[in-house]
Symmetry: C2
Subunit: 220 residues, 2 copies
């Protein structure tokens, strides 16, 4: 294992919270993201900084370095490839693969991932619509527009979600919403921004603003 499971999880969290490089991330954000304490995060930040995986100044937050970003993208690539394997090959639901992939992603072998990638036909997106970094750590333009802020009456194709937690995905499943499904925005409430949409199946579903923020869409 190039880095420990713990180190990889921190790098992934910092990379994600910093929206892919750039932004400084707060100790407390990382702690809440990884379900741990701020003190533990501080400890780990010192270690990662020592290894030049993040640039860290006490009390000022962290950001991944080029090297740390590369390591994070490698983990993300493994995670997303395993998710494709779990849904496409083993037929798991798209709402139940995140947790398993979280374990499989730490198995270290470039050869394994390279063969898995080939076997799966070099997929470009995972089951949640997230792009899979290539073997050089290149990440294609990702999900962009989210469903909130879209016009009333417009048509869209769901491209992905911004939260991979099983309960949220099951909630969407119950409404027939998942990547690839077409949506028509019937009405947007001017007061709370809640939305009524027509799903491909013909059903009409009500979506609160919080939910529309977590669904990304592409042109129909």
């Amino acid at each position: 294992m190039r880095y420990t499971t713990s180190e990889e999880n921190y790098l992934k969290a910092i990379f994600h919270l910093g929206h892919g490089q750039q932004e400084a991330v707060l100790t407390s954000e990382i702690a809440s993201n990884l379900n741990t304490t701020a003190a533990s995060v501080t400890d780990m930040l010192k270690k990662l900084s020592e290894k030049e995986l993040v640039s860290y100044e006490r009390y000022r937050g962290v950001r991944v370095t080029r090297k740390g970003e590369r390591a994070a993208l490698d983990v993300i690539r493994r995670h997303r490839l395993w998710e494709v394997f779990l849904t496409d090959v083993l037929k798991f639901g798209w709402d139940e693969v995140h947790h398993l992939a979280e374990e499989l992603e730490h198995v270290s072998s470039d050869e394994l991932i390279s063969r898995l990638d080939r076997f799966l036909g070099h997929p470009r997106f995972d089951p949640h619509g997230d792009p899979i970094p290539d073997k050089n750590g290149k990440l294609l333009a990702g999900k962009v527009r989210s469903l909130d802020g879209v016009n009333q009456g417009s048509d869209w194709v769901v491209s992905g979600v911004l939260d991979d937690a099983t309960p949220f995905l099951q909630f969407l499943n119950r409404k027939g919403i998942r990547p690839g499904i077409r949506l028509n925005v019937i009405h947007i409430d001017p007061y709370d921004q809640s939305m009524l949409v027509a799903v491909e199946s013909g059903r009409e579903e009500y979506l609160s603003f919080d939910v529309t923020q977590l669904i990304t869409v592409a042109q129909a």
Copy 2:
């Protein structure tokens, strides 16, 4: 993870060294098998004994309990199923999958293993000819006769090997020997028991006694 990776590795080692239950295993055997020290083994034996996975009396060796045997068989099942996946699906050589399976076997999810088993078509043997325990921990009769002690002139089919280390398997690969291959025993040296065999491909290969002990065969 039902048990830690370390606990699972110790259970597997004790189970194997005890030839599947029964026999008491020595601390030093475990230490050398797991590449660690006798002191570390003693520590772990106390923990496993605490959890009733092994029955252990100081200075007298250990043996797995019913519960420990079950846990070991679960790990072995996962290991061997992943090996089949790696060779049959990802096309790894039979000599390079042991190490990777050693990592994958600790990913904990009964559902994952059950689906993997179904996808692979419920295989009964791994690439080295070892039987795969079923989901209830039942192990079919395994490899039996090894090539040493066989009669001069007799014909056999290689059923498996008793050592999964890559260097040994590569050595056999170079001689064209692997499970499923037919062998004819041309000559056995009366002094050192070394053997000259004709391999399916027509090649004749010389095998030292140490090697013949590690190859298992079935009736041709």
